[in-house]
Amino acid sequence: MRYIRPSSLEDAVGLLAEASGKAAILAGGSDLLVRMKGGFIEPDLIIDIKAIDALGRITESDDCFVIGAAVPCAVLGENTALRHAWPGVVEGAKLIGSKQVQGRCTIVGNLCNASPAADSVPALVAAGAKAVIKGPAGSRTIAVEMVPVAPGKTSLAPGEIIEAILLDKRPPHSGDAYQRFTPRTEMDIAVVSAAVNLTLDDQGVVEKARVALGAAAPTVLLVEEAANILIGSRVDDSTLERLAEVCSGACRPIDDKRGTVEFRKKVAGVLAKRVALTAYQRAGQK
Amino acid sequence: MVEVTLWGALAAAAEGNSKVEVEAKNIRELFKKLSERFPGLTPLMDRGIAVAIDGTIYRDTWSKELPAGAEIYLLPRLAGG
């Protein structure tokens, strides 16, 4: 087993492409090290990407935020501009693990772990975030929901690394929110979760909407029908009731140690209502 | 002579007697006589038995005297956490 800390993305991609055995990317390590400890993965090469300067930063251009792949979630919460623009995304990222884990874990790691219960992913999907991917064949940019394809599996080709997540700057009257359900207040994995991202017109009517559900199917669900219910509404009670019903209906969850099918369906709807209301209030204040 | 009350599982091993009269001056003698009279009790006694004398539970003090007229209860020897 080898541990290498490249200083450029090109080197990292090169190492990954040339690796003869199993190679693993180390950013926060909060998934990788747990899997290594449990014997579920025994990499021959660990590529620590934290020495690559660009990956450790959040930068802002005129039209978007660029969140480097090695930025710990705690740093997202400390970025005022990001928190103001995308409170729901930050909420999701800040719910992963404990404070100890927050200082290490990254949204890219959370995305690539490809768990349907990943806390940061529903809000990223609702936000329409994009993943910038670098590989031996060059760069490509895809919607984040295209990254996980099944529990534990991503669409990344051999040798590819996610370099950053892109989040658009926001039009006026926009807001997003994320909530998950966990039995404990902290230190827990989402039993089911929901994220809503809204943009309102000047009259307070929803113009654009995206609704995503976590731990409700093998991958995070983008529920278009739910978004359509919100569009054109002022997120009144009857809209919320229909939203809950559609979200519950869209779920394809499983029974497992963390929850039952019935529970997940019901609570997905409840959470969708609650986050839609929060997102609407946030959008109205901007 | 003291009257001794046995709890359920013990009574089953003592030919169904839940109360027995024994001539015994202390716990040691009580165990000895009970064991002679009801051999089926021996394995249960080996597992451990406590004796409540007027409400106070004794687990190990076999020399404890059994006062005449005292209320004597045999109980399982318990485990704690």
Binding site: F263 | W7, D60, G80, G81
Partner: protein, 750 residues
């Protein structure tokens, strides 16, 4: 020893104060050494291979590849731990649990172990051991295992406690029954009856420190064991018996212990570590992973309990009946028996009957967990009592007060109570501001009572007085939560000196006589009794030495406030001699001064508690939030009140976790699915409110200061208190613990 009634009015000078514990600084600076914090020269690392199957015959174990792997120094299987138990079935079960012999009986059952030069090598070597299993049908649920057609776990188990003896083996190892009066007649007479079935899931003690030990067996037959345990003398006995060692040649040193709660009361991996060391001829360190701790150690029983209680219109309980089925893992246990004894212990009942069944399941061997078996029985009974109070139309507290046991009551498990604290705890709760605070929407309040026996047991203590007048107290009961502080207080109290002059240590098995383990809330109760007696023995010597120094008869010397005082007309004017002065002269008055005590500390006073819980339930998701929690418990006499409060709060927190979220989850394949702290959800800091405590002091008549054990009772009421609070908040009777959100939501929608 009996309670000195003069203590009731006595003002103690040390007992009842709250000094800093003697082991505190080491613990806040990282210097205290726990099980895994000790290493020996030339030490190897041991690891255990565990069965992935719930129930399987072990056909063959091939260790040859592991033995040849570079760096591996020993591989052991059951063949290296031959059966030396000589018909002692409970020790045989412990042996089989340490290392499976013919069958693997649960997911996580040890089947082989290796010792290697480092952890990596040991881990790799485990993969080279080939075990051939023949899978058998398994059963992990207590009710399914109880059924007549269940897969049979142990063909030698025939239910005891039934007459006639059954003619076929079953998973029910024992039936036990307690009670008095005519329950059926009483029930027929009742104006109101509540009958319900309750279920509780299996929980783990959840100590943060995994089991750890360092074993060193020398070729000359001597051995040392460093281990985290609640009872190093008991571990010595177990290990010596299982390994065929002489007890006196095995020295066991108890490390600081990172939590036990009953889970470190018998051996698990220690005999395996010793067997590895014996085979390798080198010291072996063996530390369990968290996954192993969950899969292979500790858990409490899962239960299924039927309760039926009848009351008259005036609120008198006329009859009480319960049938309790407790899982005991794959070995015979006596857990239901304890549940059956404690179930109705809080009440004064003319007609009462409890029947307990021990049920074998393919899960880890059940171990004691803080007042073992009592919390589940209390959950069932106190839930039914609450419901019955409503039917009768009485307030829940008043109904309990009316039926509470008191001095002279014949306990449901047999004997007659002496002075007890159930009534006073209920009165205190009735008058507590918590009971009068208002509640909001979706909020509910519940209260419940709990009982625990408390134990004493064999205890040995040495008190040595140094020449500088300081006192070294060597105790044999492992300190699990601050008992060195309380015992130092007791020594200081008896000798009449400052707490700071006493230093208590836990002596190893070669330095002190036998002590039972720290279980049954006995640590401070029994070691304080032994300390008092050791101190009084030392005082006898101190008086004799002072008499020598003064050259007067010893009868004329008394001991007052740390000083020898000369009495009598002729020498009453002699200036007092302090302990320090007598100690300084000890070399010329007869040598070292010490007091010893070897006792059986019988007469532990039973203990009662009543708890109040406020909870808010989110009716849309079933989420719960504990808003406020109050513990009222009788301590007899609180030696170090802050640590008494700590026991109350800790027990309550564990009970709340059990009530709401903690449970073992098994798949259909018989494998444990949540063997980690992420999915086995013990409460985190943000899950709990402050936990208010009120200490009552109803002296135990069998202890000189009136001390009762305090450690365990606090976990008995919470399951029921929380369940009553949730039931009151949602208007539906909760019958299944833990009340996880899916269960609450399902109950609401049922």
């Amino acid at each position: 020893m009996t309670f000195d009634p003069s203590h009731a009015a006595r003002s103690f000078s040390s007992v009842g104060t709250r000094p800093i514990r003697p082991d505190g600084v080491d613990k806040v600076t990282g210097r205290a050494r726990y099980g895994a914090d000790f290493n020996m020269p030339g030490q190897l690392i041991g690891r255990i291979l565990r069965s992935p199957h719930a129930h399987a015959v072990i056909r063959k174990i091939d260790t040859s590849k592991a033995e040849q792997f570079p760096g591996v120094k020993a591989v052991v299987t059951a063949a290296d731990l031959p059966d030396l138990t000589d018909g002692d079935t409970s020790m045989y079960d412990i042996l089989d649990n340490c290392m499976a012999r013919n069958k693997a009986l649960y997911d996580g059952h040890a089947v082989a172990a290796v010792a290697a030069i480092d952890a990596r090598t040991a881990k790799q070597a485990l993969k080279l051991i080939d075990v051939e299993y023949e899978l058998l049908p398994h059963v992990t649920d207590v009710d399914q295992a109880f059924a007549a057609d269940a897969p049979l776990i142990n063909e030698t188990i025939f239910t005891t406690g039934v007459d006639p003896k059954p003619d076929r083996a079953s998973n029910v190892s024992m039936r036990s029954q307690f009670g008095h009066g005519d329950v059926d007649a009483g029930m027929a007479e009742a104006d109101f009856v509540v009958a319900r079935t309750f279920k509780t899931e299996q929980t783990h003690q959840g100590y943060i420190e995994p089991h750890a030990c360092v074993a060193n067996v020398s070729s000359d037959g001597t051995a040392d064991l460093w281990v985290c345990t609640q009872g190093h003398f008991v571990y010595r006995q177990h290990c010596a018996q299982l390994l065929g060692l002489e007890a006196s040649r095995l020295r066991v040193t108890s490390s600081e212990i990172g939590g036990g709660f009953g889970g470190k009361t018998h051996v698990w991996a220690e005999p395996v570590a010793l067997a590895l060391s014996r085979k390798a001829g080198r010291p072996v360190k063996l530390v369990m992973t968290r996954d192993e701790v969950f899969r292979a150690t500790g858990p409490t029983s899962a239960t299924s309990i039927d309760v039926k209680i009848g009351a008259m219109k005036d609120g008198t309980i006329i009859a009480a009946d319960a049938t309790l089925r407790y899982s005991c893992g794959p070995y015979a246990g006596s857990w239901a028996e304890v549940g059956a004894m404690t179930a109705f212990a809080c009440y004064k009942l003319e007609n009462v009957r409890t029947v307990g069944y021990e049920v074998l399941v393919n899960r880890p061997k059940t171990a004691a967990y803080r007042a073992p078996s009592a919390p589940m029985a209390a959950f069932a009974v106190e839930s039914a009592i609450d419901e019955l109070a409503k039917k009768v139309g009485m307030d829940a507290v008043d109904f309990r007060i009316k039926n509470a046991a008191q001095e002279g009551t014949k306990a449901s498990y047999g004997p007659v109570y002496g002075p007890i604290g159930i009534g006073p705890t209920l009165e205190a709760v009735k008058n507590h501001p918590h009971m009068k605070a208002s509640l909001g929407k979706n909020q509910g309040r519940g209260m419940a009572c709990g009982f625990w026996f408390n134990f004493g047991g064999q205890t040995c203590t040495d008190l040595n007085i140094g020449m500088d007048g300081t006192v070294s107290l060597a105790v044999g009961t492992v300190d699990v939560g601050g008992s060195r502080a309380s015992l130092s207080l007791v020594a200081a109290e008896e000798l009449g000196i400052d707490y700071a002059q006493v230093r208590a240590v836990i002596a190893d098995t070669s330095s002190l006589g036998y002590n039972d383990m720290t279980d049954g809330s006995r640590g401070t109760f029994s070691s304080s009794m032994a300390t008092i007696s050791a101190a009084r023995n030392a005082i006898k010597i101190l008086r004799a030495r002072a008499a020598q120094m003064w050259d007067i008869p010893v009868e004329d010397v008394t001991w007052e406030k740390g000083h020898a005082v000369a009495k009598g007309e002729t020498h009453g004017n002699l200036p007092n001699l302090s302990l320090k002065e007598i100690a300084a002269a000890s070399g010329t008055t007869g040598g070292p001064i010490a007091g010893h005590s070897e006792i059986v500390a019988d007469g532990a006073g039973v203990s009662f508690a009543t708890h109040i819980c406020d909870i808010e339930v989110d009716p849309e998701t079933g989420a719960t939030k504990v808003l406020r929690y109050t513990v009222v418990q009788d301590a007899g006499k609180a030696v170090h009140p802050t640590y008494v409060e700590g026991q109350y709060q800790g027990g309550a927190a564990q009970g709340i976790g059990w009530a709401l979220n903690e449970e073992y989850i098994y798949g259909k394949d018989g494998r444990l699915q949540n063997a980690g702290f992420l999915d086995y959800r013990i409460p985190v800091c943000s899950d709990l409110p402050m936990i208010d405590t009120q200490i009552l002091e109803i002296p135990n008549p069998n202890h000189p200061y009136g001390v009762r054990g305090v450690g365990e009772t606090s976990i008995v009421p919470p399951l029921a208190a929380v369940a009553n609070a949730v039931s009151n908040a949602v208007g539906v009777r909760m019958q299944h613990i833990p009340m996880s959100p899916p269960r609450i939501l399902a109950a609401l929608e049922a």
